[in-house]
């Protein structure tokens, strides 16, 4: 019922179907783990290059086994449990962090031929199916729901540690993640408008039929998605969650051994998932030219891999380049810039859709739409400026009063 969009599950379920589904889930799980291992190495190596260092070089060729070595080391370290920790929640939190990261990847189509109006089905053991673990009709909402659940891991880890810095880190983290989730959701909503579906598979099919959503939605939602996604991942320049100068290690300060490794894994797994979702929503997923007919099934996988790598590179590049935001700047950017911009752009695209439906002339509609948006933006920025000026004035007056009373005391 839930997965009915996949041709594999349409006519009855027998043992082969069950085995294929299990195989897909198993392969996705294993591939994700290996990918995480390689991405951690990739980030360390790339950031070393950008900082004129060598980076991991001893474990395996080019240090490629470094993550494995680190993992084994962490696994054998002592697992500390703070005295004031809430035992059950402390143990539960890493899993709440890592499970959504795994499950969210299930809705990403990683392969299948979408060129020339292809619908992306591949044949597997004589059955035709999609190259994704699941294709729920509410696909992208499912992703948003899981990223909402992922907040719990961070939040409860900080709270259950029973110590100050983790608590402050987790309060920061949850506020940041909730704030940017709104912008993320609004940016994705524009994609729904242009694709007319919530299912990731349908979104990819729609993009191969016309043009990639990054152009169809006019680039702005893509930019908002990238910024909000980086903040949602707690990656630099939005890594206030673990600002070591202020918070020691943030929410996972008290974690050690394998539990710490789980947080570390889920962070990088989220990075991969976010890149894959961005590729699916805006860059046509695995769509791309089929260059040779001999091994045609490899090409979609190759294009998907290439696009995801571009995003991963960008995330590492951002980390090497940009300094960390201050907390008030972070909140200003999220609430006063990204959310209004995403909402305004959503309204503009919806207006254009309606205009196309009703056969209104395009150019006047665009001009009026942009004028209305500009009016709204200037109203908003005026309100923000006025509030800021008032607050400054109030602060000044407050300072004057305390200064006055202090001098009065001095005279008496």
């Amino acid at each position: 019922m839930i997965l009915a969009a996949d041709p594999l599950l349409v006519d009855g379920i027998d043992l082969t179907v069950v085995l294929i589904v299990l195989l897909k889930a198993g392969v996705a799980f294993a591939l994700l783990l290996v990918a995480v291992m390689l991405v951690i190495w990739f980030e360390r190596k790339l950031i070393s290059d950008m900082q004129n260092r060598i980076g991991p070089a001893l474990a395996g060729p080019w240090g490629i086994l470094q993550t494995l070595a680190d993992g084994i080391k962490l696994f054998f370290k002592e697992d500390l449990l703070p005295t004031r920790a809430d035992r059950v929640v402390f143990r539960l939190a890493p899993y709440l962090s890592i499970i959504p990261a795994f499950v969210a990847f299930a809705i990403v189509p990683v392969g299948g031929d979408f060129s020339d109006g292809g619908d992306g089905t591949v044949s597997m053991f004589g059955r035709s199916t999609f190259l994704q673990v699941a294709d729920p009709p509410v696909g992208v909402l499912f992703f948003l729901a899981l990223s909402a659940v992922a907040v719990y891991g961070v939040m409860l880890a900080g709270w259950s540690s029973g110590s100050k810095y983790p608590l402050l880190g987790s309060v920061r983290a949850s506020a940041q993640m909730i704030s940017y989730e709104a912008a993320l959701g609004l940016a994705i909503a524009t994609v729904f408008l242009s694709s007319g579906s919530l299912s990731t598979h349908d979104i990819v099919v729609g993009q191969s039929a016309t043009t990639w959503n990054v152009l169809a939605t006019g680039i702005v939602p893509f930019g908002i998605f990238l910024i909000a996604g980086t903040a949602e991942l707690n990656r630099p320049p939005f890594d206030l969650v673990e600002a070591e100068q202020e918070l020691v290690g943030g929410f996972h300060t008290e974690y050690s051994s394998i539990r710490f490794a789980l947080f570390f894994l889920s962070e990088f797994m989220n990075m991969i998932t976010m890149s894959a979702i961005a590729v699916t929503l805006f860059l046509g997923g695995p769509a791309g030219p089929i260059v040779t007919q001999r091994v045609a099934w490899v090409w979609p996988l190759f294009w998907f891999f290439l696009k995801v790598m571009a995003f991963l590179f960008t995330f590492v590049w951002l980390r090497a380049t940009l300094p960390r935001f201050r907390y008030d700047q972070l909140m200003d950017l999220g609430w006063k810039v990204l959310i209004p911009a995403a909402l305004g752009w959503f309204l503009l695209i919806a207006t254009l859709d309606v205009a196309a439906d009703l056969g209104w002339p395009t150019i006047p509609v665009v001009i009026v739409g942009v004028l209305v948006l500009w009016g709204g933006a200037s109203l908003l920025s005026g309100a923000v400026r006025k509030a800021q000026a008032e607050r400054l004035e109030e602060a000044d007056r407050g300072a004057d009063e305390t200064a006055g009373s202090a001098s009065g005391l001095g005279e008496a």
Binding site: R84, D86, V138, L141, A145, M155, W159, V171, S174, I178
Partner: protein, 184 residues
């Protein structure tokens, strides 16, 4: 709440679907319903506010699961997105910002337990009466899962006035909260 499921499991006859007996659905429903009941009871008896919020999460997740079991995926996922992902997170956020209590019991509950139980019983009675009154003879249609597009069409055509009224109400609540918090 799980009486129909138990009844169906015992007798092999499900009154909700007019005789057809759905084994897997009934077992899933029974598991979710029992989990929800136990968590709901634990939620009001536990002494730790954060634990209570976590038990509430389990209850809400169970409700989402039951929606999905009924084929209402959109409602189920929205339940997770809104209730678990936003509302309870804000509860936890509030608890951490105001008390920041670590681990130990906060000594919640006690003095007003009787009144709370009375209010709970009253709400239960009202809801039970309303549900029985509306769905007494209704047969559960299990023809098709409800599609997101259908839900959207209904919201923006037949139920447009209640929908807009709720939006305005939420906006008013939001502005009210800001006014109260600023105190001027």
């Amino acid at each position: 709440m799980s009486t129909p499921a138990i009844f169906a499991a015992v007798t092999g006859f499900d009154p909700l679907t007019g005789g057809e007996f759905l084994v897997a659905q009934n077992i899933a429903f029974a598991i979710m319903a029992i989990t929800m009941l136990v968590s709901a009871v634990r939620m009001v008896t536990t002494g730790n506010v954060v634990h209570a919020a976590l038990y509430l999460v389990i209850v809400l997740a169970g409700a989402a699961g039951i929606f999905i079991l009924l084929g209402a995926e959109f409602v189920g996922v929205t339940q997770v997105l809104v209730y678990i992902g936003a509302i309870v997170v804000l509860f936890l956020f509030g608890i951490m910002l105001t008390k920041g209590s670590f681990g130990a019991d906060d000594g919640v509950g006690g003095e007003r337990r009787g009144i709370a139980a009375m209010v709970g019983a009253l709400v239960l009675a009202v809801m039970a009466a309303a549900l029985l009154d509306t769905f007494r003879d209704a047969e559960l249609s299990r023809a098709e899962p409800s599609l997101t597009a259908d839900v959207a069409d209904l919201i923006f055509s037949r139920y447009i006035v209640p929908f807009e009224a709720i939006s305005v109400l939420l906006l008013a609540a939001l502005i009210g909260a800001i006014v109260v918090a600023r105190g001027d």
